[in-house]
């Protein structure tokens, strides 16, 4: 197997799965949309038209924003919050930002440490928080995109019912926006919480998401 594929198999497989699923969502979403169109005596639309529609846009964005919120919160909260016995948690005496020596920054950096881990000042501060910054930015961006596409969809339905359209500020206070948002958030929080607690007692041999099979339930912050 070419070394590139062996070394990057996890990312490659998930990229392929993502592309397959988002394409499948477009096909199924367009079919569902067109069934609704026919019910209302309106013409069906093509796949190329559907993938640039607000209907598809809001469906994709509402899911993306919740995934990135999940990672943002998980990355942030695991700095300080612990779960005894979980491989998702740090060890019980390591809550907080840890020491420079533990984090291998500044004078404690290794020769092959990333460049910004070796320096002092704002660049190191940024790099120390880069994962949170990027995840958080993507979350905010996709949540904003959800609000814009959701607004277009919401206003289209209002016009269909001979009602006034509303602006963005009104829309982000509407049940439609929060129902879309919270239905996604609840599943993300459930997933993380489940994983954190189930991994205390259950095992998956060979997976770094699990403790080693023979690890005691009380062992915290160990990987399989």
């Amino acid at each position: 197997m070419p070394r590139f594929i062996k070394n990057n198999g996890l990312s490659i497989v998930f990229l392929v799965l993502f592309l397959a699923a988002v394409s499948g969502q477009a096909i199924a979403g367009r079919a569902d949309f067109n069934e609704e169109q026919v019910r209302h005596g309106n013409p069906e639309i093509s796949l190329s038209r559907y993938v640039v529609s607000s209907d598809y846009g809001v469906a994709v964005m509402e899911n993306w924003q919740s995934e990135y919120l999940q990672f943002t919160l998980f990355v942030l909260l695991t700095v300080w919050l612990l779960q005894r016995g979980s491989p998702e948690s740090k060890e019980l005496d390591k809550a907080g930002l840890e020491s420079d020596e533990q984090q291998k920054v500044g004078p404690h950096a290794q020769q092959n440490s990333p460049a910004w881990a070796k320096v002092e000042g704002i660049r190191r501060r940024i790099y120390e928080n880069s994962l949170l910054l990027v995840m958080g930015t993507i979350w905010i961006g996709t949540w904003l995109a959800q609000s814009v596409t959701g607004l277009a969809q919401f206003n289209s339905e209002r016009l269909d019912h001979q009602m006034d359209t509303i602006g963005w500020w009104s829309y982000v206070g509407k049940p439609d926006f929060w129902e879309r948002t919270l239905q996604n958030w609840q599943s993300e929080f459930l997933a993380v919480g489940s994983m954190a607690i189930l991994a205390v007692y259950l095992r998956q041999r060979g997976s770094p998401e699990s403790k080693p099979v023979g690890s005691p339930h009380t062992a915290t912050g160990v990987e399989g």
Binding site: G41, N42, P43, V52, S53, S54, D55, A152, Q153, N155, S156, R158, L159, D160, H161, Q162, M163, D164, T165
Partner: protein, 133 residues
Amino acid sequence: MGAKPAVAACLLALALAACGAGDRERDAAAVTEHFHAALEAGDGQAACAELSEETASKLEQQEQKACEEAILGLELPKGGTVTVRQVEVRSAYTQVAEGGADFLDEGPEGWKISAAGCRPTAPEQPYECELEG
């Protein structure tokens, strides 16, 4: 794809979408103005041609007359220019200067009026329309 070309592609797509939206608003406004101009000219057939099939059919059933005859008997603004126009997905809202709003749907033959001579009622309630599909 590198970051810069990707950003440029996104901005271009947004710009094209914005231009497209402007064209569609103008098309919807043109249909509205043509409809009200036909009413002013007493041309019921031309006015009915701007209606959606469902709306024209409902009018004929309600009035028990052909559309081109029934439409001229309704209290709809005659003539006028569009002062407000808005497109959302495949629905549009237009308002003529002389008052009254029209709602349009986009179909295979372009924009068609689904409701005309509409006025607001209570907040968060549908408009009341002289002509409805």
